[in-house]
């Protein structure tokens, strides 16, 4: 679909210099002289590197028609994360380096959306929130009554999260995987 670059949105996919990229950020920018620009941060889905590019806001660009498929995260090895389409049992692999830090919050068996283009997996659609059980945590230090005080805990995927001091081992918490922040107890 061809759109004005001024309408480009975070999360969309475009081809840039011959390679598929996902828009990480798109900000309208008026330099004061010359027409307005759309400053975009594009993540190259092959190299996982970000590149900055300023489109003229009235420039026509092709936004790729990408579908998101409901898949199950099954396991990972040193390099890749593996997902399975539960209807077709087809497996897809995505490099850990591409998916990034959020994969430390992925639990085997969890359902997730994977973006596909021409039957090839591009990347995942990060879940808004994940629920994980706390496996290791220190007890709150006595006398520590500072409002908002936090402590590090380990969750079942092995990742460390900062939580309020009253949260205990065995409790399930919700986390925003993109920021790694604790958002509440479940």
């Amino acid at each position: 679909m061809r759109v004005n670059a001024g309408n480009l949105k975070k999360g969309e996919f475009v081809t840039f210099q011959g390679e598929i990229c996902q828009v990480q950020k798109a900000d309208f920018y008026s330099p004061g002289k010359g027409s307005a620009l759309m400053k975009a941060r594009l993540k190259n889905l092959i190299t996982a590197k970000n590149v900055e590019y300023a489109y003229k806001s009235n420039e026509q660009i092709e936004v790729l028609d990408v579908t998101s498929v409901d898949m199950q995260y099954i396991y990972k090895d040193q390099e890749n994360l593996y997902f399975m389409d539960e209807r077709t049992f087809n497996q897809s692999a995505l490099p850990i380096s591409l998916v990034g830090d959020i994969s430390r919050f992925f639990k085997e068996g969890e359902k997730m959306f994977v973006y596909m283009y021409n039957d090839k997996p591009l990347t995942i659609r990060p879940p808004m929130s994940v629920r994980l059980k706390i496996t290791e945590a220190d007890d709150a230090a006595k006398g520590d009554t500072v409002s908002g005080a936090k402590k590090p805990v380990k969750v079942e995927t092995g990742a460390t999260v900062m939580v309020p001091i009253f949260v205990k081992v065995g409790e399930t918490i919700s986390i925003n995987p993109e920021t790694g922040e604790y958002t509440g107890r479940v």
Binding site: P31, L37, A54, K56, E59
Partner: protein, 330 residues
């Protein structure tokens, strides 16, 4: 759009107040007059790249169009002609058709000041003094965690910056045909594009991300004459006496030796207002009194404009303007 209350920004907002206070102190100590100005005006300076907000004043069955000012220049230059001397404005300005982003809101705070008898390079020293003064009161942090210093400028002429960061040679920058060819070779779309558009696009893509990231702020000077705005031209005839400065890849402000040739200004008025009509922008009343004032005589001076929220972002170490505000319209 909706109203968002963000009390968690209180600490950042306090930094905003601290920077604001030190700006007033600096100008008071350096004998600039603080000027309060209207933000509603019955006429404006035509600018083809800025859309404006229009409203109507209703009284006794009559209606009069009024416009929110996109910059205080329209009033400050009148005052300079009238003999106000060195002066500054710290207050609201409004620009339409530019959506909210990390670095811009349609309603924003502008610091604009004028000093008589100095040119753009001397103003660079004055701006640096201001930044140093604020730094003493507040503690700037760069986005990379290290302290952003205002001890000196990292200076590049625009031609040097294009060569260093975009591999565009001086003769390619100043000859439009060569510039278009080079841009095409680099993969830019040059169809239906002006020199100004292409310049801004390459600047934003290849140059700006490299500015103000080596521990001090970067000053760019001597813009091609096509980007002169209201700046006086240099004797070389191809560059204008205009500077802009950057911190963490973001343009914070700019200044230029003011054009005080009223004939040239009038030509620019006509050109810009025709361009506005062609681009179907709001057909606002043109401020003829502004040209009249310039005809009387604008003293030799340099004017500087700083996006105040962007400046405070450096001192509060935040990456977006909304983090500085207790109330955001989003």
């Amino acid at each position: 759009m909706k109203i968002q209350t963000t009390i968690k920004n209180l600490d950042n907002y306090k930094i905003y107040l601290q920077v604001e206070k030190s700006v007033h102190e600096f100008f008071e100590q350096n004998n600039y007059l603080k000027v309060d100005l209207p933000v509603l005006s019955p006429a404006l300076i035509p600018e083809s790249y800025l859309e404006i907000f229009e409203t109507k004043f209703n009284y006794l069955g009559k209606k009069e169009k009024l416009y929110l000012t996109p910059s205080p220049e329209i009033f400050l230059k009148r005052l300079l002609v009238a003999g106000v001397g060195n002066c500054y404005y710290l207050g609201r300005a409004y620009r339409n058709s530019e959506p909210n982003s990390d670095w811009h809101n349609p309603e924003f705070t502008m610091l604009e000041f004028y000093k008589l008898g100095i040119n753009y390079l001397e103003m660079a020293e004055e701006v640096l003094k201001l930044l140093q003064f604020i730094s003493k009161k507040c503690h700037p942090r760069s986005s990379r965690g290290s302290s952003a210093s205002f001890n000196h400028w990292e200076k590049f002429s625009v031609a040097q910056a294009f060569k260093k960061f975009a591999g565009i040679k001086e003769k390619e920058l100043f000859k439009e045909k060569l510039f278009f060819n080079k841009a095409k070779e680099k993969g830019y779309n040059i169809e239906k594009t002006t020199y100004e558009d292409l310049f801004s696009q390459i600047m934003a893509t290849e140059i700006e991300p490299n500015l103000g990231i080596r521990g001090c702020s970067t000053l760019l000077f001597d813009y091609p004459k096509q980007m002169a705005s209201l700046a006086k031209l240099n004797e070389d005839g191809r560059t204008a006496q205009r500077c802009e400065f950057y911190i963490n890849g973001l343009e914070i402000g700019g200044f230029c030796t003011e054009l005080n040739d009223h004939n040239e200004q009038q030509k620019r008025f006509i050109f810009e207002s025709e361009k506005r009509k062609k681009n179907k922008m709001i057909d606002h009343t043109i401020d003829k009194g502004f040209i009249k004032a310039l005809k009387y005589g604008l003293p030799f001076c340099t004017g500087a404009g700083i996006g105040f929220e962007r400046l405070v972002m450096i001192f509060a170490n935040v990456k977006s303007i909304d983090k500085l505000k207790l109330i955001n319209i989003i």
